[in-house]
Symmetry: C2
Subunit: 344 residues, 2 copies
Amino acid sequence: MILDDRKIKILYAIIKDYILTGEPVGSRTISKKYELGVSSATVRNEMSDLEEWGFIIQPHTSAGRIPSDKGYRLYVDQLMEHKSINQDNMKMIERLLQQKVDQIDTLMKEVAKLLSLYTNYTSIVSSPVIHKTKIKHMQLIPLDAHSIILIIVTDANLVTNNVIKMDIPADQTTLNKLSAMLNESLKGLTMEQINLPVIQELKVKMGIYGEIVNPIVDAVAKTIQTKITPEVYLSGTMNMLDFPEFSDIMKAKQIFHTLEKKDVLISILLKNASKGINITIGEENEIEEIKNCSLITASYEIGGRKVGTIGIIGPTRMEYDKVVSLLSYISGNMDKLLKDNSDG
Amino acid sequence: MILDDRKIKILYAIIKDYILTGEPVGSRTISKKYELGVSSATVRNEMSDLEEWGFIIQPHTSAGRIPSDKGYRLYVDQLMEHKSINQDNMKMIERLLQQKVDQIDTLMKEVAKLLSLYTNYTSIVSSPVIHKTKIKHMQLIPLDAHSIILIIVTDANLVTNNVIKMDIPADQTTLNKLSAMLNESLKGLTMEQINLPVIQELKVKMGIYGEIVNPIVDAVAKTIQTKITPEVYLSGTMNMLDFPEFSDIMKAKQIFHTLEKKDVLISILLKNASKGINITIGEENEIEEIKNCSLITASYEIGGRKVGTIGIIGPTRMEYDKVVSLLSYISGNMDKLLKDNSDG
DNA sequence: GTTAGCACTCACAGTAGTTGAGTGCTAACA
DNA sequence: TGTTAGCACTCAACTACTGTGAGTGCTAAC
């Protein structure tokens, strides 16, 4: 099996054409539309080899060829041009993100929207994995006789608020003092650093404030524990319906059903969290329902730590080059985008 | 035009059967399945009248009849049984809502999920219109050199947090004093009561703290202004695809497209906000894209004020009785549900 | 090694023919 | 006068058949 230059060119042409049109590509189309200087008969011979080796598939005898997963794999690994997005698009992106993005959840939503808008595929964005982020500030606020609110601000400007229920009433002054103490002890720690020993130590340290301390510290620990699951934002789900691949309602429903399971999405995204750009093609996907889809993910950093993932899901016939360049650009600038919009 | 008892019974049977099966209902079906004691020929004569008067429609010559919008209208206004949901379902609802519903946005999401799960239609839920709710607590928290966080808690336990950017740094102690002052002046007021005069007065009152006051008070005013738009939560969008009415991809896409426009949904929901239960059938809808849908909405109260709406959208062939009873129950208990889960 | 030529395959679209659910009308009956 | 049996009629939906064309694989000649 020798993939000589001409075979590569033919395979490239087939993939490019199929991604563009969605129709099986015939030998005549290749020889006429792409200037290879050979007749359709020659192309046929080459295609026959490519099919034998599993790079392309013939849906039925009298049809052209379509790329197989293996074909796409070769394409993304070796053939695809890695262009970067152009100036105009960069500007468009910055303009879109500059509006009302003061907090991370708003930014996430905007990024998801942007990705789906620009690619016409479906975007999946996971918010920062909170246990890797550092605590910046904590504040207790009285709500009513039986409950107080715990505000936690992390260094990614993620603000979470949680209601704590307690039997003992607490006044503003006490809560301010407790807040100050919590800050003193926990500020700068990552979520995962706040483990049982730290909590115990904290209880002892704050003991002077009496029995009110226990429920509050417990609530802090529990809140941090439960808030560790990242959020997932989807956008452009309906874009799936634009592709003939999913014009069969049953197939579309299958995928939509999968996309509704946030825990499944999280597990998919986290799997590739450490990898930078990752491309999973068709059958390479572990989830049965998306084995006719391709998934491209890119991890992003905040403060130098890989904390989350952004991704695009679409048909295996996907504009890989365009999607990769966009994801690279946005994931690479996530930190900056957030900083520009919150601190600047 | 006299709608005698028998005609009513026949119309009722047609609607019931069509809602159940989705297939046009023939005269033979009526005379056999529903015990009216008359032959199919008699039913045919009656149906002929009902069609002439516009209550039912014949899709084509050799088909049975289906209800028209006018038919459904008569049904929901006069024929439909108003049953209340049974004990088992009440328990199920309470069990579902009792988990992790400590704040209003979580409750909204859960209610939306519940509605779609229980009905198999698509649910639309709008969060409380914030300008009708009262301020319960305000708190300023330092974030970094250039920004502070403003937390506003309303009496519906809605907690909003907003980043305020400023040139002047502010320490915790000052912010605590400012927070106390804000609370003193604004606590108990509804959002809409905080108008320009109140803001001006506040600035004068707080002037002793120097120039830091202006940006903060402005931010408070602006935040309240911009946070007035309610949130909309959707659930079970994909349930639409389960109905043959929307098996045509184009029709489905049209509706999905509309459902993605949050401002359109808000305007639809707000229109019926004052009405308790409201049913809009097919062509009665003002939005072109949902003229083949029915929309049932119910407004809910918090603290005795109508502040938001929950609703179900689906095909005109909808189980109106079931949906109405569910919406009535949930909207009627919204206040209680929220209180049970947050204060209890 | 390349290409022209040709027989072959098969999805797809279009055209009849058949079926059956359901109707409207008429005439007879209670 | 209302009800019903009977019957001709309609028409969507399904099936079977056919022609078309895009595309292939193979062979023989260049």
